[in-house]
Symmetry: C2
Subunit: 575 residues, 2 copies
């Protein structure tokens, strides 16, 4: 089965099946989405107009038996940041698309009328259909109805109401093995699908097995790889407490942004910690660990039930809990879980949105700590697209501009996540220089600054942070191209066998002979491709800066400011 590209023209409502150009053959995931966007999208176009394109691509190893290879990459020019954007999520779609031989789906153009559509992907074709029933519905209902229409095994990529309203915080949501919701959350890619007037993309299940050039070598490498993941201490902590294991750790470090980034510790951190969450889950008969895609050996996800033992939310992540918790001063984990469920259902980024709420709290729209107020606005304003709902649904920068707040934690208009750059300086370099706005996953220096993975580097020192962030950003760009979950990085940094096994799998899959240097070069090339797009869109080094207040407002308990000078930040790009 030859790989192909489906090109969906939403202006003419026509689909073409294209051969994969030779220069895109060796690319997958983020490497492919960023290359296509950089090649085909006019950098100065309006992100919600006919000239933007949404590109969906499984990773290089997606669809194979490789452990943890189920991430789906989506790319476009971001309506939130105006930069190039890739976001990835778990769920079942990446593996399903790969098994159908889909290298990428490129969605371009824009319908002339206001009607909604859906796409259905099979091995041979993408069909464009009119959709009415599911318009205005949340992601959970979309998945549930499609399970009835197409069978439980269908794949689904969808948008909730936020994407229909083209809010800049809108997710592309991906159905997971339990028919729950995984999110490509950052950068508003859901608004781009909404701007194409597509409510969902469904995928036909397939029993295809992908051909491997060297099945034995693949199997051996995968065994080594999976063992490295499973043996890793961080992997094990993630399995026990989820990513939310970090609340207490980051609070202890003094870098837990609290009350809209005015202090570095949350006095109610125990109420929202991974430990508390774990106990609550067990007590209420939830699931403390499970996977977001088939083949995951880490199992950092969980199912959180309400007081009555009924399902409330899953994939309940540290960053979401931090943002709605410490940053908004909400100490009620049930309120946070309900908000998490609603954001998944509405299809709103669970980092951007709570950070936006915290800025709204600073503006006096509601009180810090008002969990019920947040839930009311999510249900009554965002779901209905009221003016307040639009302001918050468009993210933290939108709230700041609307209410004239000056303490707005964004870079390139994207909300800064759960690690304060004054107290953990490496991550500040990542926020500033990332090609996609503030995003911890672009170069997760927390590993080395805080967790002691890949060495250790004092988070309060200025030394070495640029190099750390650069190495991690390059490695991440490569990992994001494989379809691998980023959490393989902990094992990759600490276990010598891990990375070679990953490269062996790629080689055994395609019958090639990549080296570690090739992989590094791939990562560097991706970053430079993305950076060139941004430069052509009008971005300069002046955009590679943290907000002004970080330089002037010290953060407790360390009483430190952001003090890495501009020239040092800009040296990031010296490679």
């Amino acid at each position: 089965m030859a790989e192909k590209i489906f090109r969906v023209d939403m202006t003419k409502l026509r689909v073409k099946v294209e051969e994969v150009p030779s220069e895109w053959m060796g690319l997958g995931g983020r490497g492919l989405t960023s290359t296509i966007v950089a090649t085909e999208v006019e950098p100065t176009c309006h992100p919600l107009g006919a000239n933007n394109k949404l590109v969906i691509a499984p990773g290089l190893l997606s669809g194979t038996p490789a452990a943890n290879s189920g991430r789906l990459s989506c790319g476009a020019k971001s309506p939130l940041t105006g930069t190039i954007k890739e976001a990835n999520a778990g769920g079942t779609s990446a593996q399903m698309l790969a098994k159908l031989g889909v290298k990428a789906i490129i969605i371009e153009g824009q319908p002339q009328d206001d009607g909604w559509h859906s796409l259905h992907v099979t091995e041979d074709a993408v069909t464009i259909n009119r959709e009415t029933e599911l318009v205005g519905k949340g992601n959970y209902e979309v998945v549930s109805v499609l399970n009835q229409r197409l069978g439980e095994k269908c794949g689904v990529i969808s948008i909730g109401q936020a994407g229909e309203f083209k809010m800049s915080g809108a997710n592309l949501s991906v159905k997971d093995p339990g028919s729950r919701i995984r999110s490509s959350g950052r950068g508003g890619l859901g608004a781009v699908l909404g701007s194409k007037k597509i409510k969902f993309i469904s995928i036909e299940p397939s029993n295809n097995k992908l051909e491997l050039a060297d099945p034995e070598a693949f199997k051996t490498a995968n065994r080594t790889f999976a063992k490295a993941l499973a043996d890793n201490q961080i992997s094990q902590a993630l399995a026990q407490y989820g990513t939310n294991v970090l609340v207490n750790i980051i609070n202890e470090s003094g870098g837990l942004p609290t009350r809209n980034f005015t202090t570095g510790q949350f006095d109610k951190h125990e109420e929202i910690s991974g430990e508390t969450m774990h106990d609550t889950i067990v007590e209420r008969g939830g699931k403390p660990k499970h996977n977001c895609h088939p083949g995951c050996v880490i199992n950092c996800s969980q199912i959180y039930n309400d007081k009555d033992g009924n399902y409330k939310t899953s994939g309940f992540e540290y960053e979401s809990i931090w943002a709605m918790g410490a940053d908004c001063c909400i100490d009620n984990l049930d309120h946070i879980a309900e908000a998490d469920y609603l954001m998944d259902d509405i299809g709103l980024d669970s980092i951007e949105t709570p950070v936006a709420f915290a800025v709204a709290m600073e503006a006096g729209v509601l009180e810090f700590g008002d969990g019920q107020g947040v839930l009311d606005i999510l249900k009554n304003d965002i779901t209905k697209g009221t003016p307040l709902g639009r302001i918050i649904g468009n993210g933290a920068g939108s709230v700041g501009r609307s209410f004239a707040v000056t303490r707005v934690p964004v870079v390139k208009n994207q909300a800064i996540p759960a690690y304060d750059p004054r107290a953990i300086k490496g991550i500040g370099i990542t926020y500033a220089t990332s090609t996609m706005g503030a995003d911890h996953t672009m170069g997760y220096t927390i590993a080395t600054n805080i967790l002691g993975v890949g060495g250790s580097l004092d988070p309060l020192s200025k030394e070495g942070q640029v190099e750390l962030s650069r190495n991690l950003q390059i490695a991440t760009a490569a990992i994001d191209s494989t379809g691998m979950c980023l959490f393989i990085a902990f094992a990759a940094l600490d276990d010598e066998a891990c990375l070679p096994a990953l490269i062996d799998m790629i080689n055994a899959r395609f019958g090639i002979s990549l080296t570690a240097d090739d992989v590094t070069n791939l990562g560097a090339t991706i970053l430079k491709t993305e950076r060139a797009f941004n430069t052509a869109a009008g971005f300069t080094s002046k955009d590679d800066r943290l907000p002004e207040f970080f330089k002037h407002e010290p953060i407790a308990p360390h009483n430190v400011v952001w003090d890495i000078d501009d020239a040092t930040i800009d040296s990031f790009w010296d490679f």
Copy 2:
């Protein structure tokens, strides 16, 4: 009486009186505000934070008997555009400040608490006072109460509710000789005064006469100058119909942006034309002509009464009437007048705000043509700072981003005014290259493209438009430094005696010997100073572009698109 600079530190609530540095001696108005902002304001600062500064300066000839010299310049980093900004208005303040020997007032810092203040300017001092009574009030009430407190002759610069809310469309409002409102409208400078927690600045009247180096030469030059203004045909048309004489002219040209810039003619143009307005004013006992500042010989302003013969609004300008009229498809001149009054009172830019309403109409927030709906939102939402009020009060770009509209007529986030750049291409060059976002007054090519002043140049041709805009932008920067009203430009372009007489007045005032070349060099230097600020703030040539839709959507009746290429636009800066 030596000239001085008052430096008002709103952090420490302290005022210093400073000598005028020698390098600022020869500057006034925009030349001075832009130089001070470029020298003292960090270009990347938050416009509403403690590090921005608001600079207020009369022009070089303000306070002298020179005709039409009563414009007051205000400068800062703009919260709307993020660029350097100067806006000027008539009224009595420029001449009053000049007579007190005030070269400039620099307002810096930010109070630590939420209380409001006022400034009172006398010859020797600026005092900072707490203000409570007028907080939350509109400009008309501010002026009325201050007339009682301080006497009818006091000068007033104030903000309405929009400035208090720090909306990006907020005016700095200036009391005029009839205790009505003149506006430094563009770029949200009212939000900057609001961010300093200053509700108004009052100015003590003075009987000082400014010393002239050569009173006789001054008198002679002024006589020649005033005659040139009074004899000019355009001046005379402005006196008869106000600036609104342009509705029919621009409609006829096919460049009257209508229904959010979707077509170039408004079928109801007669309902809102200058001719109709004139007849209505006369019929209802209004005043078809009067001045906005003492010494004006053009008298383009007017007093428009309601049906019962009571005062409704004044200074009822073409751009405001176009924006609320053709662009919003409102054909009821009384609704437009009421909106104009409300915008003056709330202190909102009467270009930015109606263009924002038109984008909101496109988004479906209200219907095109719904004048009553606009009035309701102005009264119930903007005055109260509701979420919808914030969205609209922050301007057209804000509405576009909030409601995901792609047809948003802004450059550098400032609304494009009353001349469609597809059908009148010279003005498109001005919009694109202006250092302050889309603004017709920065280089009013309409003079030559449409009115046949200063030669004539086919508005539909691409040839010569860059040179036209460049020459006008340079000249305008110089004129904006003198305190002169921009409408002297018509006489300056068509009457050989006019410009030399203006230069003679400057020379006679200061005992210097400027040449016409010196004045041109001054204008060019100001533009380059402003441009350098913007570059340091992160702006590039990519920001010197019209919105994408102008390239793709032809406008009737000429069915033309914006077709001047990027390199040609960028050649603007080759001087």
